[in-house]
Amino acid sequence: MTTMTMVGALNSGLRRALDDDDTVVLLGEDIGRLGGVFRVTDGLQRDFGPDRVMDAPLAEAGMMGLAVGLAYRGFRPVVEIQFDGFVYPALDQLVTQVARVHYRTGGAVRMPVTVRVPFGGGIGAVEHHSESPEAYFAHTPGLRVVTCANPQDAHTMIRQAIACDDPVVLLEPKRRYWVKGEVDEDLGDPLPLGRARVVVPGSDVTLAAYGPLVVTARDAALAAQDEGLSIEVVDLRSLSPVDLDTLEASVRKTGRLVVTHEAQRSGGLGAEIAASIVERCFDVLKAAPLRVTGFDVPYPAAKVEDHFLPDLDRLLDAVDQVMGRASSLTGWRAS
């Protein structure tokens, strides 16, 4: 076990992947000499050379299309999108090509492409640097979409994603990049890439979260304990496919579901998850599932992003609602 930040854990995961497999190549803007704007690829070009850690021209569609050709030729490209908001030019190649070459060719050509996307807000950034575009990916057949909430998962997932024969979008919660945690680099028996995990066991409410909000959800569970409420926090980890079996097992225990994400609400993952759980667990639900999400507005200016992002109080407010309790916030919330 080594103490690492999430950035360090990703870096060591990429290093392992480059070491383990000569067909792994990294492609991205500023990932070489600079080591990426978040330093996730720090030192990798120095150690593996510019032939394997390639600085790309500033063209996201180009990078994604290049990855298709590299995969056709037997390589395992890992594309870094510098910020979530810059992934949109690459969406065309990702949706119309990367995601469907295997299907199109009847299984003859695999697309082991990994797309790394720093995502989410909360860092006081300018426009296009705080987006949560996961629903676009999750809606696309043929893509696996995963997100990490801690350094260990970041390390494990990047290696699993690169080893996966299907295309994987790894969403990295950039506001948790510098949170430290223990990382075991010897992947003994890691969770499968598509598996959710119960972070905090509980019995009253299931709180499903992923990426940056797992920490927030865990904090909410701790705070609720003071009021005698038992919240079970499930880190979904995989957004496509969603591990509905794990979630269903939790909801069958608690009878209540709150799902949260930073992304805008309409058409989001929360809607899909709530619908799926209602289909599966209608008989045991004690309240309608609730979503605590970003609002259906473009990501706002930095000084108001705290009102856009779900936080501990909004999570607890939703928990109160599914519990049928008077809001514990009433009367003391400052603003």
Binding site: V25, G49, P50, D51, M54, A56, P57, A59, A61, G62, M64, G65, L66, A67, V68, G69, L70, A71, Y72, R73, G74, F75, P77, P89, D92, Q93, T96, Q97, V101, H102, Y103, R104, T105, G106, G107, A108, V109, R110, P141, G142, R144, C164, D165, D166, G194, S240, P241, V242, D243, L244, D245
Partner: protein, 386 residues
């Protein structure tokens, strides 16, 4: 493959010529290079003649045969569509020389990324007659296993394949081979960002790729003048990619240009852009109505530049024409078309449950649930048991 000055020395360094000056294609004028006139007269273009000196009467006859076969099955496919056997077909009538001349210059270990109209290229790569109609009958999304003939599934998104070819070429260089990737696209595609980005990457990485543009004058109804105010070949030099402009209805000129580009790529000198100036004599697809936008005299002028007729004239002028051989070629073409028709009739509709196959290499629980739900649903109709 990175530029040689920053390359780590792996990959093709051993194949890079000692000379630091990359080879260049011949200087380019706006007029397309022509080796065989529409009247069948052989013109001298020393820089191009040199690379096709081996194309004797017999080899020229073989190219003639290819073009005759291609036109024959293309005509057959249009007929199949008219009879309701195919949902759609994109005729290549008029573009036989551009496709055959380039495709016949390639090696088996080169790799081809095309648009949807390059059925002559697929034929040259070894696609079987029935393979050419699967997609258009709607029984599959690909006609063949791409690796079996060194040709990707034809691309429907205009221009997207230019990036795939570039990535593949970068991979060839990384692997240390001298294989080349070639991207076929049309004049309309040169307006696409993907094609521009492909050229940026290819130039930056000195990728062994050929950008082969068939300028057939039309993007459905839009004339090439809407896409470009200069020859589309002019788009490349600004990217640092040398370009050639050839008569796309001249199979020999097309082959020569392709060979020059292939040689540059194999030597590590990077990408080349070829504009083959041709004309789409038919509709965009069988769903199109070109009478709404094509000027008949314009089409008639291009009909006089037919790619097949000029080779016949050249062979006759050389005394290399044989009516006997011509009959054999016609019979070969008819047989290919007949096999395509029979193969088309014999293509079964896919099993409904196959629609869940190959979404992933390793399927997902979500998808498998949908598969079993749909199987159960279908079973209600057939009376079968789950």
């Amino acid at each position: 493959m990175l530029r040689s000055d920053v390359s780590p020395g792996r990959a093709r360094s051993s194949k890079t010529p000692s000379s630091k000056t990359p080879s260049s294609p011949p200087p380019r004028a706006d007029d397309p290079v022509q080796l065989v006139t529409p009247d069948g007269v052989r013109r001298e273009e020393p820089a191009y003649d040199a690379v096709v000196a081996d194309v004797d009467d017999e080899r020229l006859t073989a190219l003639y045969e290819d073009m005759v076969v291609v036109r024959r099955f293309d005509t057959e496919a249009v007929a199949l569509q008219r009879q309701g056997q195919l949902g759609l077909w994109p005729p290549l009538l008029g573009q036989e020389a551009a496709q055959v001349g380039s495709a016949r210059a390639l090696r088996a270990d080169d790799f081809v990324f095309t648009s949807y109209r390059e059925n002559a290229v697929a034929y040259c790569r070894g696609a079987r007659p029935v393979d050419l109609v699967r997609v258009w009958r709607g029984t599959a999304l690909t006609g063949w296993d791409p690796r079996s003939i060194g040709m990707a599934t034809p691309q429907v998104m205009v221009g997207a394949q230019s990036l795939h070819a570039t990535g593949y070429a970068v991979g060839c260089a990384k692997a240390g081979t001298d294989s080349v990737a070639i991207a076929y696209f049309g004049d309309g595609a040169t307006s696409k960002g993907d094609v521009h980005e492909a050229m940026v990457f290819a130039a930056s990485l000195a990728a062994p790729v050929i950008f082969f543009c068939q300028n057939n004058q039309w993007a459905i109804s839009e004339p090439v003048g809407l896409q470009a105010q200069r020859p589309v070949a002019d788009r490349a030099p600004g990217m640092g990619i040398p370009s050639m402009r050839v008569d796309g209805n001249d199979v020999l000129a097309v082959m020569a240009a392709t060979r020059i580009a292939l040689d540059r790529a194999r030597r590590g000198d990077g990408p080349t852009f070829i504009e083959a100036v041709t004309y789409r004599m038919g509709p965009h697809t069988t769903s199109d109505d070109p009478t709404r936008y094509v000027d008949p005299p314009d089409a008639a002028r291009w009909a006089a530049k037919d790619p097949i007729a000029r080779v016949e004239r050249l062979l006759r002028a050389r005394g290399a024409w044989s009516d006997e051989r011509a009959r054999e070629i016609t019979a070969t073409a008819d047989a290919f078309a007949a096999e395509m028709r029979e193969g088309c009739y014999g293509l079964p509709d896919p099993d409904p449950m196959s629609l869940f196959d190959h979404v992933f290499v390793e399927s997902s629980p979500t998808l498998e649930r949908q598969r079993s739900e749909h199987a159960a649903y279908l079973a209600m109709f057939t009376g079968g048991e789950r």
